[in-house]
Structures are given as structure tokens and as C-alpha cells.
């Protein structure tokens, strides 16, 4: 009851599971004891059986208060039972057999229960670690991709524009076009930062809708093996271009023409091909301004990274429009599966439990023999138990091979057949068929080695054989029945635990996969968005103004050209100068470039760990030197790891090395090399 009540509130999955198991076992035990009472199983002078089943309170204690409490409960309950036994004055030896098995059952409950808890906690813990690592990894990957995309799409265009704008060459409208294009790219990025990626299914539904709206008769073939979401700008550009291509086809080739749209969506590419068998046209004869082709189809696709578009047509030969977006290898590479480490149970503890159990059985065999039992029966029973145990083994906790499992099951059934022997028939003490109960424990071990079905079947066979033995005994079969019931109870409890353990493993795996997929998606999208917004913000605030100025087409003044050069340098520093790109060097570099110094900042320190204080000193050192450089070239470089010096400055004054790592903080020792 306690377990049932506290169970749902328990904090981990495993605790809830054990609570449920224990509660149902308590219930079963109640029913069984009632049945036994009805069967007349309790003799005068014996304690009620339920009272001696210490496993139940122990299991409850384990769930509610932990392992130490469980051990304490076991000791208390055992002591209590012994005191009661003394008071009731029943048959000491019969009680001993019963109590020993009850004790073993309780110990097994504690150990196996703790094992389940440990497994679940271990899984939870390693899963939490793996999740956190995966989140970091995904976010870092997403950021890198977003950065690469920014670089690919924007920096190259923006830098080229600024570069040429900074020079005194008249490039006419070409420069304006380039600036406009660069601005568009920033806009695309900004949309990506705001937008939501489209799933392949949504995308294909959109394609279907477009095709059907423009021409309900068109055939649509879809071949989709892609599972990755599409960027919002890809969706927008491709769907827009497809709509335009459909509109063109319908308006030029007429509605009677057969149209066919083929969509191929793969992890590495998206290709849409629209074919019609209309009159066609000569692409070279079409004035560029007259058709929507140039801007709406070709322009849109070519503005995408990896995008391309092609229009093929000839008079009388129909028209074919192909839209394609190819993803780079890095973009398609799915992140690797994180490894959630499986929990390793303490094998030594389990082996010790098995050894103790077998020793206790040997003790029982000795006691029973000493009290007048047949030596051959005890010897056979012990041999059978050892056979079972050897077949199951305790070297591993994985699934037992089928031959070994079957051997163990057969050995168990064979051992139970001892009850059929004439030698075992003159039983006049309770507990003489101790080995039948012991078989229940052995079969629990079989169930735990992932042979649940075989264990239960063997358990039932054992019971059947033992009960047949009881039937053949004419007068008093109570002992065998009690042993069989106990054996079945033990097996039921053990199987329930084994089942719970397996489910815990399975469920955890499934839930982990789902959680992981969700987590990955969220982490990816968030990191991408935040990285892109950061980049877009940076670009808009730094170069947006200048790019718009260039689109105005009036020639740039020399001051504006200097500003363009300074801005180009600023963007370059953020990529190439990396750690050097911090204040006050950023401002000094801007100033120096405005007055015509060709500043080049190189961070070649890779991922070397660099003391923040030293880095600040280097940056200040370079900044001071740069302020003193009136013209010409200035190169500041952070060295790769493992060199004596950490940085150098080269200007027309020569090269100066920074040896901050070896120097006292606050006293950088600069070694000047006069050239």
C-alpha cells in the first residue's frame, strides 16, 4: 500500500516502476496467503506465512527511502520474525528453511532493485551528458554553417564591392549592380534569420499546390529521399521561380499543352524540371526585358548558394525549365549520433550474491539431511542447482545463449523431478523440498539474463513436476505445495523485475531518440538564427550605409573611398584577425586605414589557449604601434602555438616581436629587429 501510494510521486522512472512491482507483489502475496489459508497450509504453531515474507517491506523501503533503509528493514524484520518464532515455539528447523529463503528473496529484491535504480540513473545521467554535449555540438555546427553561409554569400560580395569602391576606378553601373546584389544578399540572410525552415513534406505540398493551381492537368512526378528541412529562402526562391515558369508556360504554350513537372528532392540536391510540348521559342531571340525568365527564374535561383536555373527551348521543340539547388557536402552531413553509455551493473556483486545463495542452499541441504532426510536427495538437489547455476553463469549480464538457457531450464525441471523419487517420499518435516523454492531463485537469474519466456516455462514445468510428486505422496503433501507456491512467487517477483528492467532499457532508448531529434532541431534552428541575426546586425550597422551610398551611382569622394577601404578592412579583420579584432585595435585600425595605412591583421594562433590578459596586452601594444604609423603597410600577426614569441608587428620601422608569454604581466618585453 505504501509503495502504491508513494510510487507515483517517486522522481525517477525506475522508482515508479519498482513501486508498481512491489505493490502488485504485495497484493499477490495477500491473495496467495489467503489461498494457502484455505488450503490449510498453516499448521498450528507456525507463523502466518505472509509475516515471514520480508521481501515486501524491504522492497517498499528500497523504493521509498533507499538502499540503506532497505537493509535496515531487512535486519529489523528478520530479527522480529525470529523473536516471534521464539515466542510461538514452532518447529525451529522448518522456520529456518522458510526464513532463509525469505531472507534470500529480500536480499535479491534489494540487489536487483538497486540495480534497476542504478541502471536507470546511470542511463539518465549519461543521457543528460550526451544531450548537453549534443546540444553544444549541434549549436556549434549550426553556427559554423551559418558563418560559412554568411561568408560565402555576403562577405565575398560585400568585400569585393568595398574593395573596388575604395579604388579610384570608374566602373559605372556595374559597381552599383554589385552593391545592390550585396545588399540583397544581406537581406536574404536577414530573412533566413527570421524565417522558419520548411520540412520536405510541406515543401512538396507547396509544389503540388502551385502546379495544380496553374494547370490542373499537369502531371507531377515526385521522387523524395530528402529528410532535411529546406531554408526559407530556398523554399521561397524555388516556389516563386516554379510559379513563374508555370505561368510562362501556360501563357505561351497555351492550356492545351501537356505539361510535366518532375521533382527530385535528395539530401544533396533539389531539382525541379518543367517540360511542355508547346511551340517553344528561341531563347536568344527573346529580349531580356520582355520575359519574366531572366529575373524571376534565373535571377532568383542563381542568387541562392548552390542554385542554378536553365531554360532550354527551340521553336517547335517545346520548352524545358530546370531549377536546381545543390547543397554543399558540409550542409548535408547529418551530425553523428551521440553515444549514450549503457550502464554496467556491478558484476562482482551479482556473482557474490549467487555464491552466497548456493552456499546457503548447501547449508540447507546439510540441515535437512541431518534431520533425517535422505543424503541422496540432498546431494541430487545440490547437483541440480549447481548445474543450473553453471549453465546460467555469472560472468556476464547480457542475453544468455539459447543452448545454455535451455540447459539451465532442463536442469531445473530435472531437479524438480527429485520429488518423484521414492527416497523423497517419507517427508515429515516442512522445508524438506527446499530445493523447489531454490529453483525459483535460479530461474529468476535466467529471467534476468533476458530469457524471460524460458524461465517462466521452466518454472511452470518445475511446479507441475513437483505437484505431481506431491500427488504421488499419499499422506502429507503440504511441504511440496508450500515450496511450489514459494518458488512460483519468487519467480513471479523476479520475472516482474526482469521485465521492468528490460522495458526501462527499451523505453529509455526510444524516448532518448525522440528527445534527441527534437533537441537537435531546436538547437540547430536557435543557433542558426542567433548567429545569422548577429551577422546581419553587424553587417547592416557597419556596411549597410556605405553599400546604399554606392548604389546612388554618383562618384564617391576620396573621403568616402577611404571609408570604404576602412570598412573592407574591418570585415576582413573579423575573419582573418579573429582574436585581434577587439578594442582598441578595431578603432585604431579604422583610423589608420582612413589615413591610408594598409593594415593587415593575422591571427594564426589557431585554437591555442591564449591568456586573456596577454591577449589584451598584445592588442594594446599593436594599437599603440598602429597609431604611430603614419602611412605604408602595417602587419600585426598572432603566432601559431608553440613559438617563443606570441606576436609580431611589421611596419616600415621594422619588425617587433612580442614575448609576452615569458615576461612578467604588465611588462611586455618587445624585441625590436631593425631592418
Amino acid at each position: 500500500m505504501t509503495a502504491a501510494l508513494t510510487g507515483p510521486r517517486a522522481e525517477t522512472r525506475a522508482r515508479r516502476l519498482i513501486a508498481a512491482c512491489t505493490a502488485s507483489i504485495a497484493l499477490t502475496a495477500g491473495v496467495v496467503s489467503w489461498l494457502m489459508g484455505a488450503f490449510g497450509g498453516i499448521r498450528d504453531g507456525d507463523l502466518p506465512w505472509l509475516l515471514t515474507v520480508t521481501a515486501v517491506p524491504v522492497g517498499i523501503a528500497l523504493v521509498v527511502a533507499g538502499r540503506n533503509a532497505a537493509w535496515l528493514t531487512l535486519l529489523t524484520a528478520t530479527a522480529l520474525v525470529q523473536v516471534l518464532r521464539f515466542l510461538v515455539e514452532g518447529d525451529f528447523w522448518t522456520g529456518l528453511v522458510s526464513d532463509l529463503h525469505a531472507f534470500a528473496a529480500a536480499v535479491a529484491v534489494i540487489l536487483i532493485g538497486s540495480l534497476i535504480l542504478a541502471v536507470a540513473q546511470g542511463l539518465d545521467r549519461s543521457a543528460a551528458e550526451a544531450y548537453a554535449a549534443e546540444q553544444r555540438r549541434t549549436a556549434a555546427h549550426a553556427r559554423r554553417m551559418a558563418r560559412e553561409r554568411t561568408e560565402a554569400m555576403v562577405h565575398d560580395d560585400v568585400l569585393s564591392t568595398l574593395n573596388l569602391a575604395a579604388q579610384d576606378i570608374d566602373l559605372g553601373p556595374a559597381l552599383r549592380d554589385q552593391a545592390e546584389y550585396a545588399l540583397q544578399q544581406v537581406e536574404v540572410l536577414s530573412r533566413q534569420a527570421r524565417g522558419r525552415p520548411t520540412s520536405p513534406r510541406e515543401f512538396l505540398a507547396l509544389v503540388q499546390e502551385i502546379v495544380q493551381r496553374e494547370d490542373a492537368e499537369a502531371t507531377l512526378d515526385i521522387e523524395s529521399t530528402g529528410s532535411q528541412a529546406l531554408d526559407p529562402d530556398v523554399t521561397e526562391a524555388v516556389s516563386g521561380a516554379l510559379r513563374q515558369a508555370m505561368v510562362n508556360s501556360v501563357s505561351h504554350a497555351g492550356s492545351q499543352t501537356a505539361r510535366r513537372v518532375r521533382v527530385r528532392l535528395r539530401p544533396d540536391e533539389l531539382v525541379i524540371r518543367l517540360t511542355d510540348d508547346g511551340p517553344g521559342f528561341d531563347p536568344h531571340q527573346v529580349p531580356p526585358s520582355a520575359l519574366g525568365i531572366r529575373q524571376s527564374i534565373l535571377g532568383r535561383l542563381r542568387a541562392l548558394p548552390g542554385g542554378s536555373a536553365q531554360v532550354r527551348s527551340a521553336p517547335g521543340a517545346g520548352t524545358q525549365v530546370t531549377l536546381a539547388v545543390r547543397r554543399s557536402a558540409a550542409e548535408q552531413s547529418e551530425p553523428a549520433q551521440p553515444v549514450v553509455n549503457a550502464y554496467e551493473p556491478p558484476m562482482r556483486g551479482l556473482a557474490m550474491l549467487a555464491a552466497l545463495f548456493l552456499l546457503a542452499q548447501a547449508g540447507l541441504a546439510a540441515v535437512v539431511t541431518a534431520r533425517g532426510g535422505e543424503l541422496s536427495v540432498a546431494a541430487l538437489a545440490m547437483a541440480g542447482l549447481l548445474c543450473c547455476a553453471a549453465a546460467i553463469g555469472w560472468d556476464d549480464n547480457g542475453r544468455l545463449s539459447l543452448p545454455r538457457a535451455v540447459t539451465a531450464g532442463l536442469a531445473a525441471v530435472a531437479t524438480s523431478a527429485i520429488t518423484l523419487l521414492p527416497a523423497s517420499r517419507d517427508v515429515d518435516h516442512l522445508g524438506d523440498t527446499w530445493y523447489v523454492t531454490a529453483l525459483g531463485f535460479v530461474l529468476v537469474a535466467l529471467a534476468l539474463r533476458e530469457r524471460l519466456g524460458l524461465a517462466v516455462t521452466s518454472g511452470l514445468l518445475v511446479s507441475a513436476v513437483a505437484l505431481t510428486g506431491a500427488y504421488l505422496q499419499n499422506d502429507d503433501a503440504v511441504d511440496v505445495v508450500i515450496s511450489v507456491v514459494r518458488s512460483l512467487c519468487v519467480l513471479a517477483v523476479g520475472s516482474a523485475f526482469a521485465f521492468a528492467l528490460r522495458r526501462a532499457h527499451q523505453h529509455t532508448g526510444e524516448i532518448q531518440q525522440k528527445e534527441l531529434a527534437l533537441l537537435r532541431e531546436t538547437a540547430w534552428n536557435e543557433a542558426t538564427r542567433s548567429e545569422l541575426s548577429e551577422r546581419v546586425h553587424m553587417l547592416s550597422t557597419t556596411v549597410g550605409c556605405m553599400l546604399r551610398r554606392i548604389t546612388e551611382l554618383t562618384p564617391l569622394s576620396s573621403q568616402e573611398r577611404a571609408e570604404a577601404r576602412a570598412l573592407e578592412g574591418l570585415l576582413r579583420d573579423q575573419q582573418r584577425g579573429r582574436r585581434l579584432a577587439q578594442q582598441p585595435l578595431i578603432d585604431t585600425a579604422m583610423e589608420a586605414r582612413r589615413r591610408g595605412v594598409d593594415v593587415c591583421l593575422l591571427d594564426d594562433s589557431g585554437e591555442a589557449v591564449l591568456d586573456e590578459g596577454i591577449l589584451r596586452e598584445i592588442v594594446r601594444w599593436m594599437s599603440d604601434a598602429l597609431s604611430d604609423t603614419p602611412e605604408g603597410q602595417f602587419t600585426g600577426r598572432l603566432f601559431p602555438a608553440g613559438r617563443v614569441e606570441s606576436a609580431s608587428i611589421t611596419s616600415r620601422n621594422g619588425t617587433t616581436l612580442f614575448r609576452g608569454r615569458d615576461s612578467l604581466r604588465g611588462h611586455p618585453r618587445a624585441i625590436s629587429v631593425e631592418v
Binding site: S160, A581, C600, L602, D604, T635, S648, V675
Partner: protein, 217 residues
């Protein structure tokens, strides 16, 4: 002496670069501008003969710089790489595949054309970017250089020019030139082919040189 003029082509997906450079190249007495192409494939398809190609480091057709250089060199064209100078990773890649030099676009049209002419005449175009890229390379590749060559490379990487390096090391400019030539050959021989972006990525991992996040301040 070569032909009266070296035929130079530009491969860059920015038309603007060709618009700016083309006329200046053409105006040079020893250079002949033979055309602008947006990708290496276009140039090869056009069957235009060129002796020297001014190649943009980063093309948006999904090709890798190294594959582009290898392809052009296979067709007997020498390559001079033009870069916005922002991606050290790609510069590193391309510095090791036998290019004549790596030029920063921000150098200015006149300087770029001057460098093209020097390269066309068989001279070295050792720039700071090129030297810094090699000087940062993994130690395993650097061991193939002599002590003196490493010194030359490090001085170049710090921003010095040939003349200053010569003065500093008390050697002649010709000797510096020889060193540069030998360094270029060493790296060219070490060139590990990476034809796909995945291979490039893997090599980046091997060298511990992946493009990593810019630290936030």
C-alpha cells in the same frame, strides 16, 4: 624569354573584378587579357588558351579552391590566386598546391596587375598571406623545410618583403628568391589531393584546423 605577351584569363564570379582588372591587364605591355569566366569549367569548356589564370579563391559553384587549382594546372595553366583574404582556412588549402602566389584583392588594381606581370615573367609572388598560411601549417609538413627556409617563411609571414628579408638575413635577394621557390616546390609535393568538400573537411580535422567560431567579446 616567353612569347611577347602572356595570355591571362580571370576566373571570378564577380564580373566587377574582371571589369576593373581586365583593361589594366590588357594595357600592360607584357600581358594579354583573354577573357573572364565565372568558373573553371567555363574556361576549360571555352577552349580559350591561357598561360596564366587569375583565380578567385572562393567560387560559388561549390568547387573547392584546391580542385580548381589542380584542374587548371593539369591543363597547363599557372595560377595566381586572388582572395578577399578573410578565410585563413581556404588560403591555407590553396597555398599548398603550387600556385604562383596569393594576392589580396584590397592591394589595389595596379599592385595586383604588377604582381601578375611579375608572375608571368617567372618571378616569385610571395605575399604575407601566402607565407603566413604556410608558416601556420601543421608541424608535420613544416619539417620538410630547412632552418633557413623556415626563417625566410616566418619573416615573410610577419609582413616583410623580399628586400627586407634579404637585409635581415644578410643574404642576396636572389637567394631569398631561391628559398621561396624551393618552399613552394616542397609544399607542392606535399599536396594531398582533396577533391570534395568532405575530404577538405576531414583534412581540416586531421590538421586541427577547422574554421572555428570567432570568439565573442
Amino acid at each position: 624569354m616567353r612569347d611577347p605577351a602572356t595570355r591571362a584569363a580571370i576566373v571570378d564570379d564577380h564580373e566587377l573584378v574582371a571589369l576593373a582588372l581586365g583593361p589594366v591587364i590588357d594595357a600592360h605591355p607584357r600581358l594579354d587579357f583573354v577573357g573572364h569566366y565565372v568558373c573553371v569549367k567555363d574556361l576549360l569548356r571555352s577552349a580559350q588558351a591561357a598561360d596564366l589564370v587569375v583565380l578567385d579563391l572562393f567560387l560559388r559553384d561549390g568547387s573547392t579552391p584546391q580542385a580548381n587549382v589542380d584542374e587548371l594546372r593539369r591543363h597547363g595553366m599557372e595560377v595566381l590566386v586572388l582572395t578577399s583574404g578573410e578565410n585563413p582556412y581556404l588560403v591555407r588549402e590553396v597555398s599548398q598546391c603550387g600556385v604562383l602566389g596569393i594576392l589580396r584583392k584590397s592591394l589595389g588594381v595596379a599592385d595586383v596587375v604588377e604582381a601578375i606581370a611579375r608572375a608571368a615573367a617567372g618571378g616569385n609572388v610571395a605575399t604575407t598571406e601566402w607565407a603566413a598560411a604556410l608558416d601556420t601549417g601543421p608541424p608535420a609538413t613544416r619539417i620538410h623545410l630547412t632552418e633557413r627556409e623556415r626563417e625566410v617563411l616566418a619573416l615573410y609571414a610577419s609582413g616583410l618583403g623580399a628586400k627586407q628579408v634579404a637585409t635581415k638575413l644578410h643574404i642576396s635577394e636572389n637567394t631569398v628568391d631561391d628559398h621561396i621557390r624551393r618552399i613552394r616546390q616542397v609544399y607542392q609535393q606535399l599536396n594531398r589531393p582533396a577533391n570534395t568538400k568532405v575530404e577538405l573537411y576531414q583534412r581540416g580535422l586531421q590538421d586541427g584546423l577547422l574554421p572555428l567560431p570567432v570568439p565573442r567579446t
